[in-house]
């Protein structure tokens, strides 16, 4: 059991990193990766929302969608969006410091494709409650890892002499390509399993 959980954890964190090998959550990856600090906060907010999503998906799959599987997509997106909004209100009331730290990113995350993808993957792979939670934490940390790496590189690149045409989106994509190439090296981590 624990070996399976470990496999889920490391494959979601490194081998099948959401951003670098599934291309999920690219909008914040390119949009918000300018500063290390914001990238880190966004990563935390993302992980947080992913955990809530995983819980909500599990509840939906076990109690509601068995009766109406064709409503899956609509149910996920509505429940995720409203749960995030609800949690946002609770945090604002009870933990104002955390709320300020997460800022605008908390509501924006709902439209991040990584969130819906988590719900879908969790369903198609048949993960239970615990497996789903481990998967969510690992994916969130994986997103954060990619964001922080990208932000670190871009902070460095700002100081160096880059050809004028390359500045902006084109260079971000090339950097992401190199990062993704590096992450492919993790593919052999569990003896190619």
């Amino acid at each position: 059991m624990s070996a399976k959980l470990l496999t889920i954890f490391f494959s979601a964190l490194l081998i099948n990193n959401f951003t670098l090998s599934y291309f999920l959550g690219l909008c914040p990856f390119f949009g918000v990766s300018g500063r290390l600090q914001t990238a880190f906060r966004l990563g935390i907010a993302n992980t947080f929302v992913l955990i809530i999503t995983s819980l909500a998906t599990w509840v939906l799959n076990t109690y509601v969608l068995v009766h109406a599987p064709y409503l899956a997509l609509i149910a996920y997106i509505l429940v995720i969006a409203s749960t995030v909004q609800f949690v946002e209100m609770v945090i604002k009331k009870t933990l104002p410091t955390l709320f300020r730290a997460l800022g605008i990113y908390l509501p924006l995350i709902t439209t991040n494709c990584a969130i819906l993808a988590l719900a879908l993957f969790q369903t198609t792979r048949g993960y239970g409650l615990v497996e789903g939670l481990v998967f969510a934490v690992a994916s969130g940390l994986g997103l954060m890892l990619a964001l922080v790496l990208m932000a670190g590189i871009r902070e460095e690149a700002e100081l160096s002499n880059v050809p004028r045409l390359l500045r902006g989106t084109a260079m971000s994509f090339l950097i992401a390509g190199i990062l993704s190439l590096a992450f492919m090296g993790f593919a052999g981590l569990f003896g190619g399993s």
């Binding site: 690219l26 969006a81 439209t111 045409l165 390509g177």
Partner: protein
């Protein structure tokens, strides 16, 4: 009505070049990279996205005076999710192989920012006919971008185009191109090329206006 007619063509064509969702607005990156390891997947994804775009724009534009503005985003999302479900089940029935290959990404059309972006920026403010033109143009632009990225990746990474052999039998496929890093590289290089093209063009138009002494742009 005549004003609406005169705007029809520009609204239709702007999504294909001038405001191309992938290359100019850089929206909807996730599907643009995730499914373009072959041309066929790119075409299927493009058509599915265009269908959802046109249908949800039609629906939202029709209901634009009924939807209260406080809950408009959630309304749009429900409309879009409905049409994505339709597209998902249709593809599952018609093209089971292609659907199996990119199952999660068809469902992820729901969170493609191009669709919600057009609903919010265009269909919620414009008459039905113009909204359809706008959505269709954007869909075609998106499909063309996917096909372009997909062709580069399939030809280089697999030596085929739509499954047909392009090079001779001695071609060694550049496998990394159909793997995830290839997606980032190809789009990066294409964006670089477009930036160069835009620069050359703006310089040429500057020179022209200087030599003819024409009016400042």
């Amino acid at each position: 009505m005549s004003a609406e007619k005169s705007r029809f063509v520009p609204e239709l064509t702007k999504g294909i070049f001038r405001e191309n969702p992938t290359f100019v607005q850089v929206l909807g990156m996730c599907p643009a990279l995730a499914v373009t390891n072959s041309v066929m997947n790119g075409i299927v994804m493009g058509i599915a996205t265009t269908f959802v775009l046109v249908m949800s724009s039609l629906m939202i534009s029709t209901l634009r005076k009924v939807i209260p503005s406080q809950v408009r985003i959630s309304t749009y999302v429900v409309v879009i999710a409905t049409f994505v479900t339709v597209a998902d089940f249709t593809l599952q029935a018609l093209l089971p192989a292609a659907h199996h290959e990119m199952a999660a990404f068809i469902a992820l059309i729901v969170v493609n920012c191009v669709i919600l972006g057009r609903a919010e920026a265009f269909a919620s403010k414009n008459p039905i006919l113009l909204s359809i033109a706008d959505a269709f143009g954007m869909g075609v632009g998106f499909t063309l971008a996917l096909v372009l990225i997909g062709s580069v990746r399939e030809v280089l990474g697999n030596g085929t185009f739509l499954g047909h052999q392009v090079f001779g039998p001695h071609f060694e496929p550049w496998v990394v191109m159909i793997l995830p890093p290839g997606g980032f590289f190809v789009l990066g290089v294409l964006l670089l090329g477009l930036a160069k093209l835009a620069e050359v063009r703006s310089r040429a138009s500057q020179r022209r206006s200087q030599t003819t002494g024409g009016e400042p742009r």
